[in-house]
């Protein structure tokens, strides 16, 4: 299968209350690497299996939450084409010039009907520290912390998720992999893919716009989830739930909070998705199993605590 158009979620900018604590969390604990610090105080991080300049941006702020998530597209022509398609779909598009942050080319942005800012970009400089390409070792810099391999996806909460689904499928060519439908009120949650992952972005219906549920980092296997759990307890990181597995996406997972209260996930697994697959649907009868396959009950903190 050829992945064209939108390639993957490539950048996520998260607001943090205490930068030093945030760096300890994302670098020493989750296992990312610090790439640069901007003049405005933003700190740029990357995971060890990523080729691009950076993927996670920590923005010092007096409130926690998400600034934006940005998807990388396959070239500048695609970027221009998506700009026209987003405008034709009915959203105002703005421009962020190259140089607004290190290593990333021009970006376009829009606010989607859930209240979140979504951006697209085509260019990232190659990172100095990146996977080898000639007779490559499994890693160059020795992995540390939870050994996160990549920024993988995020889950966002906001209103109008029917519109959000239409936007991602109609304007950006995403496919719906999985959804939660309630008999009375319709779609409660949607998992959408732009490639072969079970999801690249997910949304849950929620009154308040622009809310952030979690950012997820991929680990290699289930043993690494156990090791992540060891690190979470050893360093008194605020735990949410896990290790466990989702019925939805089948990912094996653990959830915890950063020092500003933003939820993080480290996970592995999940099924492979092809765009010709039928949508998998969960209803109210088995939703507990859908969310937490082992516990089989819903958890109010996991479902309603947001930044």
């Amino acid at each position: 299968m050829a992945i064209t158009g939108v390639l993957r979620p490539g950048l996520i900018q998260i607001r943090v209350l205490d930068m030093a604590a945030a760096i300890t969390h994302y670098v020493d604990r989750i296992g990312l690497y610090k790439v640069a610090t901007g003049d405005d105080g933003r700190v740029y991080l990357k995971a060890r299996d990523e080729f691009d300049h950076h993927s996670v941006i920590l923005n010092p702020s007096d409130r926690a939450g998400l600034d934006y998530v940005a998807f990388k597209v396959d070239g500048d022509a695609a970027l221009s084409s998506f700009e026209k398609r987003i405008a034709a779909w009915g959203l105002a598009v703005d421009h962020v010039p190259a140089g607004e942050q290190p290593g990333i080319g021009r970006r376009i942005g829009c606010t989607i009907p859930s209240g979140h800012r979504i951006e697209l970009y085509a260019h990232a400089d190659l990172a100095e520290m990146r996977p080898g390409t000639l007779n490559p070792d499994v890693w160059d810099a020795e992995p540390h912390g939870m050994e996160a391999r990549r920024f993988d996806h995020c889950l966002l909460y906001g209103p109008n998720i029917d519109q959000v689904e239409k936007f991602f499928t109609e304007a950006l060519d995403f496919s719906m992999a999985e959804r939660v439908d309630l008999p009375e009120t319709g779609a409660l949650a949607i998992w959408m893919s732009c490639g072969m992952k079970a999801h690249d972005i997910a949304f849950v219906r929620h009154e308040e716009p622009g809310k952030f549920h979690h950012v997820a980092f991929e680990l290699e296997n289930w043993n690494d989830i156990g090791r992540a759990a060891d690190i979470i307890t050893r360093y008194n990181i605020s735990i949410d739930i896990g290790p466990t597995r989702h019925g939805i996406t089948r990912g094996q997972t653990i959830y915890f909070f950063d020092p500003s209260g933003n939820r993080c996930e480290t996970f592995c697994g999940g099924y492979s998705f092809y765009p010709d697959h039928p949508v998998r649907v969960w209803n109210d009868k088995e939703l507990g199993k859908g969310i937490f396959y082992y516990e089989r009950v819903l958890n109010d903190r996991f479902l309603t605590v947001l930044t």
Binding site: L17, D18, A20, I23, T24, V27, D28, Y33, K34, V35, D62, R63, A64, G65, A127, E128, M129, A141, H144, L188, V204, E207, R234, Y235, N236, S238, F257, D258, P259, S260, G261, N262, R263, L298, D300, R301, L303, T304, V305, L306, T307
Partner: protein, 134 residues
């Protein structure tokens, strides 16, 4: 490329275990936290936040059957553990201004996870965000 902010191998130097917090002041008597409108009092040892104390006391319920202090992110971001300090003094860490404005802070509102008692306290429960997914 810096390997880590705190510097590669140095980053793996052991930090004090969380239990050090609990053991450090065995001699100091815990502060008592009373909850407005209930008969419940929760002990809070030095170094623990108001929310830690409630979690350790298995989060006592108020008369309406709901937890007096709801446990969320425990790190000042989500706002669900908001309470009002009606008596006593606390020291606070960074709290998201999305949930406690400067004026509210001046009036005694805090996020329980970011409030460390400096005396015995009385706190009042503050209902915030919905507790169930709708």
């Amino acid at each position: 490329m810096e390997m880590t902010e705190s510097g590669g191998l140095a980053a793996r130097k052991p930090a004090p275990p969380p239990s050090a917090l609990l053991a450090s002041d065995a001699a100091a008597p815990p502060h008592q936290i009373a909850v407005d409108g209930t008969a419940r009092t929760v002990a809070c040892r030095d170094g623990l936040s108001v929310l830690d104390a409630f979690e350790q006391a298995r989060n006592p319920l108020a008369a309406n059957g709901e937890a007096v202090v709801r446990v969320g992110c425990r790190r000042g971001g989500c706002g669900v553990c908001k309470v009002k300090i009606t008596e006593g003094t606390v020291r606070t860490g960074p709290m998201s201004r999305a949930h406690v404005t400067e004026q509210e802070e001046a009036e005694g509102y805090v996020l329980a996870c970011c409030a460390y008692p400096e005396s015995d306290l009385t706190v009042a429960s503050v209902p915030v965000a919905p507790r169930k997914l709708k």
